[in-house]
């Protein structure tokens, strides 16, 4: 890790206080993101995967300060964001933008495409003139594959894939360095999904963008990510370079996830029928002691109950599992 990281996240916590059951409820703590640390290098794509409730959406919102962090630090090019006041945060938003999961829900139904794409410029580049702004909207629309003639249309007149292009244009129009993509293709049809993934890859190559690509689908992440971080119940299980992760996952949870991905080949799919894990996700309000994954883990032993495994380096990969050395050997 010679080059300096674009984004450094250290021991990030996002905890919510929720009301417990009963007449005189006690406050319970929901640890949506718990002691998460990772780096994002300039120009790379970091994939973030995990099941629903693993905190991946909360994490992406906390990085952008849409949800306040309760502990830890997030540094963008060395600038600490968690303690930054709102006014000082604004100029930094030019370098960090977000693409949302549900393309239609993330577009204001009463605004035209042109107004939607121009909005970040109005907020972040107030000095820019109207003509220049319009030109930039049109240029960005072209880059993401929208027709200039569509500038006065409304979101509901677009299909999901086209609407997601509008969302991508809105994120890119202020020329950010880092784009956080929160499941940008999960809601799209198969044939459209691949178009959008290719578009994201092209845009990255053209503009030297850095992505944090959040998804629940390991097959999609393999296509776009350079490194992959696996989350489970708000904790990091494994961070590894793509090829190493898919060739030989070290964490038993990564192995479980990989074995459950359906394969579009009937012969292979039927041969590879795995015994699925019985136990379901524990409640995030009552995490198991020690390792969060131990209730579903085939390798769990007394040490996993007693001691929470820390994220540590093995052969240049980062794994939080007591049995990782055995798997690496």
């Amino acid at each position: 890790m010679s080059e300096p990281a674009l984004l450094e996240v250290r021991a990030l916590d996002v905890h919510f206080s929720v009301r417990g059951p009963g007449l005189l409820p006690s406050r319970l703590t929901l640890r949506a993101v718990d002691q998460v640390s990772f780096d994002v290098r300039a120009g790379e794509v970091l994939g973030v995967v995990g099941e629903s409730g693993c905190g991946k959406s909360t994490l992406s919102r906390a990085l952008l300060k849409l949800i306040p962090a309760t502990g830890g630090s997030v540094r963008l090019r060395g600038v600490e964001l968690t303690t930054l006041p709102k006014a000082a945060m604004r100029p930094l938003r030019r370098s960090m933008q977000m693409i949302f999961q549900d393309p239609l829900a993330s577009l204001d139904p009463r605004m035209t495409v042109g107004e939607i794409i121009a909005e970040p410029m109005k907020a972040l580049l107030p000095a820019m003139g109207r003509v220049e702004r319009e030109q930039r909207v049109l240029r960005t629309m072209q880059q993401v594959g929208l027709l200039p003639a569509q500038i006065n249309r409304y979101p509901h007149e677009f299909s999901g894939g086209q609407a997601q292009r509008i969302g991508i244009a809105r994120a890119l129009v202020v020329e950010p360095q880092l784009v956080i993509c929160d499941e940008p293709v999960s809601a799209l049809d198969v044939s459209i999904k691949s178009q959008i993934i290719n578009l994201l890859l092209d845009l990255r190559a053209e503009h030297g963008l850095t992505y944090i690509f959040v998804a629940h689908d390991l097959a999609t992440v393999r296509h776009i990510a350079d490194r992959v971080m696996v989350l489970y119940l708000g904790r990091v299980m494994e961070i590894t370079d793509r090829d190493a992760l898919y060739a030989r996952p070290l964490h038993p949870y990564t192995r479980l996830l990989l074995s459950a991905v359906p394969i579009p080949d009937p012969a292979l799919a039927r041969r590879r029928r795995v015994a699925p894990a019985r136990e379901e996700l524990p409640s995030p309000l009552a995490l198991p002691s020690g390792c969060a994954f131990r209730t579903r883990c085939p390798l769990a032993d007394a040490r996993c109950v007693a001691e929470r495994p820390v994220l540590r380096e093995i052969d240049g990969r980062y794994v939080a599992c007591h049995h990782a050395e055995a798997a690496a050997a």
Binding site: Q97, A105, E119, R170
Partner: protein
């Protein structure tokens, strides 16, 4: 409704759509169909609502024009012609009342007053209710709790005695009637607007705007308010008839507009007293009241269906 060009009601005018589209096409850009235009298209397909719109338009126009051009004034008695049944003679087409005043012009005046009460009181309701609700909903936290508890307390006040006490204390001033009715009926809309604002705040497009660096004030102006308009418009068209009915009720009790001026409720009250001998004095104003209230309700229902996004 708001200053932004795309929400002006001019966009609703049917015939203009085609002309604008042609213009836009000539300029190379395709004009989109906004949700408002969609809603207007659906409303036009709703016959009951469209017919109501026409009827209401005719009544409103008549209520404005007739008192100017009619040969009789609303307080002009004709001692020779009391309780005359509807007749073409002397243009007393609705007949005359106990003092020989022309009932047609009085009914038109009644429509004028009732519609005015309905619209102005609803505007008062709207201003207080929308502001209160939007502030509570957007501020959230303890501000929200405090503001909504105040609404709860006001809800528990007995509504009718409150208005009656106001009337008795301050006299029967037309303006005061508007304000009194408006001041007590803003509670519902405050609650509705607050609920809507709360849910809008959690919508993904608001989150997207926050992530783009848009400030709070701009979010309220550009995203929250335009998306509130739909529900508020529906609520308004359903509030006007209930306010008109409430005014009629006050007038019936004798707490309405000061005589000799009158409202539809006052005319109904007069007519009810002589129902046995002169039924037209009740039937005519009561029909107008019913038709106006009906029309507003149809329009409100039509608007609700037209604006309902689930339909698409």
């Amino acid at each position: 409704m708001n200053g932004d060009a795309r929400h002006t009601w001019a966009n609703w005018v049917p015939g203009r759509g085609a002309a604008r589209k042609a213009e836009a096409l000539a300029a190379g850009a395709v004009q989109g169909r906004s949700l408002w235009q969609d809603a207007w298209g659906r409303l036009r397909c709703n016959r009951a609502a469209l017919a109501s719109l026409w009827v209401l338009g005719v009544i409103t126009l008549a209520a404005i024009v007739v008192p100017w051009v009619w040969p009789y004034g609303y307080a002009q008695p004709d001692w020779n012609l009391m309780y005359a049944a509807p007749t073409w003679a002397g243009w007393h087409i609705f007949g005359t009342d106990a003092l020989g005043r022309d009932l047609f012009v009085r009914v038109m005046w009644g429509c004028r007053i009732s519609l005015m009460v309905g619209v102005v009181a609803t505007l008062v309701t709207l201003v207080i209710g929308v502001t209160w609700g939007a502030v509570a909903g957007f501020a959230g936290g303890w501000v929200d709790s405090l503001m909504m508890r105040i609404v709860d307390i006001l809800y528990s006040l007995p509504f009718i005695p409150f208005v009656i006490v106001l009337m008795v204390l301050f006299g029967r001033d037309l303006f005061l009637i508007f304000v009194a009715i408006g001041a007590v009926s803003w509670l519902d809309i405050a609650r509705i607007v607050r609920g809507q604002t709360l849910s809008l705040r959690k919508r993904e497009f608001v989150e997207a705007a926050l992530a783009s660096g848009v400030g709070n004030a701009a979010i309220v102006r550009r995203h929250i308010v335009p998306n509130l308009i739909g529900i508020v418009v529906v609520y308004v068209t359903l509030t006007i008839p209930s306010v008109i009915l409430f005014e009629a009720f006050l007038s019936f009790l004798g707490l309405g507009v000061q005589a000799p001026l009158t409202s539809l409720g006052g005319l109904v009250s007069d007519g009810a007293a002589v129902l046995q001998s002169h039924p037209y004095m009740l039937i005519i104003p009561a029909s107008f009241l019913a038709v106006i209230v009906y029309c507003f309700n149809f329009i409100g229902d039509g608007l609700r269906d037209a604006l309902d996004p689930k339909d698409r």
